[in-house]
């Protein structure tokens, strides 16, 4: 029997496979397909203090080997989550991790304080990288001083595991990673989506109502993998890697590049059972390569 468990800061994951925020709802949407309790962790849909309707339709465009989205953090707000969703998911046999969004530092703090009171949420993922909101979001994650400011502020009010989700839309990803590590992040997750756009040549119109949106899917995988590797070299804290993971081989590549655990995102839309298949695939890979403990693979890239 191979050992898939891995500890990330204070989080004991039964395996290194988690689902990415915004691609797995609150987990409930997948129970017809498999038991979400099989996962290492679930990063739930991004939360904000108040209800957000998100951006107008159309907010999705299929692209070569991927898709653009401009959802814009549609959710009913933290109070609705606490009253109507949290009770149904809190006893899943896995870690529920909240993805936290704000348009100001104060909003990030207020939201974090509310989530801190929920006993069954052992970690937050500070989203400073959403490309689809006018205020906040990625604006915090593309400059070191603002990333430091928001991470510092949230760190002061939050003692559980603090994960900071980085934007790939920066010149130097390692510099951003070092900045949030210095500001108190326990772990880093990357990458969020790449800012992109799509046009219909016939009509000369953009395909998204917001013109630009976030690119995800296998088309971003090589860039995401490179960024994870650069961050792994730069920081001492563990990394959740993601970006276009479609199968177990992709997941293992991310682990070899330095991810202690991975997040499956866009692939959930195409195969809702993919995370389960990836867990099995990692297990098979380890058996085939005589790897007893998945920790041995983290950053085990050979020359």
């Amino acid at each position: 029997m191979v050992d898939l468990s891995i500890k990330i800061h204070e989080l004991e994951l039964k395996n290194p496979v988690a689902t990415a925020s915004g691609t797995f709802g609150y987990g409930e949407e997948f129970t017809d397909f498999f038991d979400p309790g099989a996962l290492g962790a679930i990063f739930i849909k991004g939360l904000t203090l108040k209800n957000r309707d998100g951006n107008p339709y159309p907010r999705m465009a299929e692209t070569a080997s991927g898709m653009l989205n401009a959802v814009g953090l549609q959710n009913k707000g933290i109070e609705h989550f606490i009253e109507n969703i949290y009770p149904a998911i809190k006893n899943y046999n896995t870690h529920i991790i909240a993805n936290v969004n704000g348009s100001t530092v104060e909003e990030y703090i207020s939201l974090t304080e509310k989530i801190n009171e929920l006993d069954h949420i052992p970690a937050i993922e500070l989203n400073i990288s959403c490309p689809n909101v006018k205020e906040g979001g990625m604006a915090f994650g593309v400059s070191c001083p603002s990333a430091i400011a928001v991470t510092n502020a949230v760190r002061k009010v939050y003692d559980k595991t603090l994960i900071v989700k980085l934007s790939p839309n920066v010149t130097d990803i390692a510099e951003m990673a070092l900045a949030v590590e210095g500001a108190g992040a326990d772990t880093i997750s990357l990458v969020n989506t790449f800012l992109g756009m799509a046009i219909d040549a016939e009509t000369r119109k953009p395909l998204l109502s917001t013109i630009t949106g976030g690119l995800s899917g296998p088309c971003i995988k090589p860039i995401a993998l490179r960024m994870v590797w650069q961050v792994y070299q730069a920081v001492k804290i563990p990394v959740f890697g993601m970006g276009g993971i479609m199968n177990a081989a992709d997941a293992i590549e991310f682990i070899l590049s330095g991810s202690s655990a991975i997040q499956v995102g866009t692939a959930n839309f195409i195969d809702p059972q993919i995370s389960l298949k990836i867990i099995k695939g990692i297990e098979e890979y380890m058996e085939r390569h005589g790897v007893e403990n998945v920790k041995e693979l983290v950053g085990a890239l050979e020359d």
Binding site: D32, M60, F269
Partner: protein
């Protein structure tokens, strides 16, 4: 309960130059499918096709564990599906979405534009079995687009419009004389087709105080309520066409 499964291509029959019926069958009993439900079909091994494609069920054959879809070729995905060989496996997530409401012993009007007729074969059968008096209008650019008239005749009166006048009344669907008759009176109107057509039908229904249900087709990435891409603006905020639709009461839409 929705499920994910591989079904095999039983038959593909082309109806005209750009549309066909895709029939899939499995070894297990098919799930309970209601008129208005849809399926997300994966198109494998085709460059440029990344996401599944949503299709309304055309019909269900419980005896033979088979389901069929009306597919109009609009892009790479729908074209590729039409080239599959008999016996090839297709991955399907289904059934998805809500369903049309089915009254008893009422007078109903069905309006289908182009490929929007797809869900109405199943709906018509169910409506007829519940004692409803049915009128069906289908609209298209030319006679080539007017499909399934024989099937619809089994349910009630069948009317049609074509923009070039090659069959039925010349003009767009809502220009059919039935809409201006003094005795235009229905308890419920169903509509599916291009958005402009559905909006025009919804307006007629609203003006005459008749309930109207529209089946919407929006771009979607997942089909089961997690990507939040297929949203429709409603009086209660944005709703997902895939889980809270595709059928909406048109009074709830900001049309």
């Amino acid at each position: 309960m929705k499920r994910i499964e591989d079904l095999s291509v039983k038959n593909i029959s082309w109806l005209n130059s750009n549309s066909y019926v895709l029939e899939l069958s499995g070894t297990k009993a098919i799930p309970d499918i209601l008129p208005g439900n849809f399926a997300e079909i994966r198109v494998d091994h085709h460059p440029g096709v990344f996401l599944r494609r949503p299709f309304s069920y055309l019909d269900v054959d419980e005896k033979n564990n088979s389901i069929s879809f009306f597919v109009k070729v609009v892009g790479k995905g729908s074209r590729k599906l039409g080239t599959l060989e008999k016996g090839e496996l297709v991955n399907v997530i289904h059934p998805l979405g809500n369903a049309f409401s089915i009254p008893d012993n009422k007078k109903v009007l069905i309006t289908g534009g182009g490929s929007g007729i797809a869900p109405f074969i199943m709906l018509g059968r169910e409506l007829k079995s519940r004692g409803n008096e049915i009128t069906i209008i289908t609209g298209g650019r030319s006679s080539e687009d007017i499909l399934f008239s024989e099937e619809f005749k089994a349910y009630g009166e069948v009317l049609c419009t074509t923009e070039d006048g090659s069959l039925g009344e010349k003009g767009i669907l809502t220009e059919h004389p039935i809409f201006t008759k003094d005795n235009f009176d229905f308890d419920l109107i169903y509509t599916c087709g291009p958005e402009g057509m559905m909006k025009a039908v919804a307006k007629i229904a609203r003006d005459k105080g008749i309930a109207c249900e529209a089946s919407l087709e929006h771009l979607m990435a997942c089909g089961f309520g997690v990507c939040l891409c297929c949203i429709q603006e409603t009086t209660e905020g944005n709703k997902c066409v895939c889980t809270e639709g595709p059928v909406f009461n048109t009074n709830d839409l900001k049309w």
